[in-house]
Amino acid sequence: MRRPRGAAHRGNPHAEAREIVFDFLEGYDLLGAFWVTVQLTLLSAVGSLIWGTLLAAMRVGPVPLMRGFGTAYVNIVRNIPLTVIILFTSLGLNQTLGISLGAHNFDTINFRLAVLGLIAYTSAFVCEAIRAGINTVPVGQAEAARAIGLSFTQVLTLIVLPQAFRSVVGPLTNVLIALTKNTTVAAAIGVAEAALLMKKMLENEAQLLLISAVFAFGFVCLTLPTGLILGWVGKKVAVKR
């Protein structure tokens, strides 16, 4: 192919076309917005894994009060729309009760509130996935563990939960993918993540379909590898019986 010297870029008709088609992206921090989405996802994932595991432990535990709390929490929280929960963290916790989660700047407060809301919501689903996993562990495993003198907590943390986690990597992957997409609800309280930027671009630019496609593609880029990698992990750690 013939390339005129010094005009490699200008002379390439493909590059020129790309420039015109993706013109609307100029001036927007697309990567920055998706980075906020990633941060929301990771922090909420870790938080809801911890809180969800604790809830599952409560639901299978011997203390009736804790069992009752776990059951009530899951049944209430998973039946409330996420938008309502996220709005409540802002309107209820922050503006009415004055909780700012240790932050002073408006953006940071909202980011933290969104993480809190996402954890509260997602952990109900994590809890149920783990509880299903606990049910796949044969009763004999816990009995044998009790028989050698392990305490309830040891039976749970050394024997039952490690096996339960290995059997629910698949369901937990679903929860993680749902969580990644659910972070878009944080736009409702002004967290500058991908969906908020999309809304802004849709208002200012003309290429509505193309903008939607770009953001859809962005989310697929986040969730597709998650699913593939965790699918492989799930197979690798599965307990053979």
Binding site: P138, Q141, A144, R146, A147, G149, L150, Q163, R241
Partner: protein
């Protein structure tokens, strides 16, 4: 009559390890254990036999409180069986248990299975625990399988690992809940041989089983249960050659003549 009771008392005074008195247990409407009185002396091997549903497995499981009882008392080494909690866990560490379905921890290697209780309950140093675990695995004849996972072993090998896991806690008494019932016929003997050896070494054992050969050769005493009651207690010779109760005669005629 008087002589017998005097003899019993003198045994009780010497060295009773497990004492059950008037133990009752219900599963819903089913009265699975009815006024059970049973005393097991230190070093004694007691084999519990009986038809299925007679409550023999339940009896075995009440001794380390895997099944809670409704009334009565169970003493282990002179101390009553504690309720749930730390005390109970401590007691269970002293009572070894071997299950029908092996119940080896599926996500841990054979070696880790035998080390876990020592490290987490007895707080033994890891190196010492491993040394002991390897020694016990050699003793039950599965030393070469130490780094495999339970699912990679045959049933007989798994059950021998389970025995090693229980022995690693230095139990005062070992409970065997139908240890050979889930095994293929050719693997039963390798497990029974380990149990025979344990009996010869003086381990106190309560064995629920259908292996009459083992009962004959290793037991000091046979306890025959039916419908939630202890119907007969006798030495193996007495029991197998001359059972007193009709229920036991009926049971033996069904299992021994074909």
């Amino acid at each position: 009559m008087t002589e017998v009771s005097v003899a019993k008392d003198s045994v009780a005074a010497t060295d009773d390890l497990v004492v059950l008195s008037s133990v009752n247990k219900h599963f819903g409407a089913l009265h699975v254990l009815q006024d059970i009185d049973l005393t097991i002396a230190r070093g004694e091997v007691v084999v519990v036999i009986g038809p299925s549903g007679s409550g023999k497995s339940t009896l075995c499981r009440t001794i380390n409180r895997l099944e809670a009882i409704d009334s009565g008392t169970i003493l282990i080494d002179g101390k009553p069986l504690p309720d749930e909690g730390r005390e109970l866990a401590r007691l269970r560490a002293d009572v070894g248990m071997v299950f029908q379905s092996f119940n080896l921890f599926a996500h841990k290697t054979v070696l880790e299975n035998v080390m876990l209780g020592q490290v987490k309950v007895r707080r033994t140093d890891k190196h010492k625990a491993e040394e002991k675990a390897r020694g016990l695995l050699d003793r039950v004849g599965v030393g070469t399988q130490a780094d495999k996972y339970p699912a990679q072993l045959s049933g007989g090998q798994q059950q021998r690992v389970a025995i090693a896991r229980a022995l690693a806690m230095d139990p005062k008494v070992m409970l065997f809940d139908e240890p050979t019932s889930a095994l293929d016929p050719e693997m039963i003997n390798e497990v029974l041989e380990v149990m025979q050896q344990l009996a010869r070494d003086g381990m106190t054992m309560v064995v629920v089983t259908h292996e009459m050969g083992f009962a004959r050769s290793a037991a000091n005493r046979v306890v025959f249960m039916a419908d939630g009651r202890i119907v007969e207690e006798a030495t193996p010779d007495q029991f197998f050659s001359n059972p007193r109760s009709d229920r036991a005669k009926d049971f033996l005629s069904k299992i021994l003549h074909h």
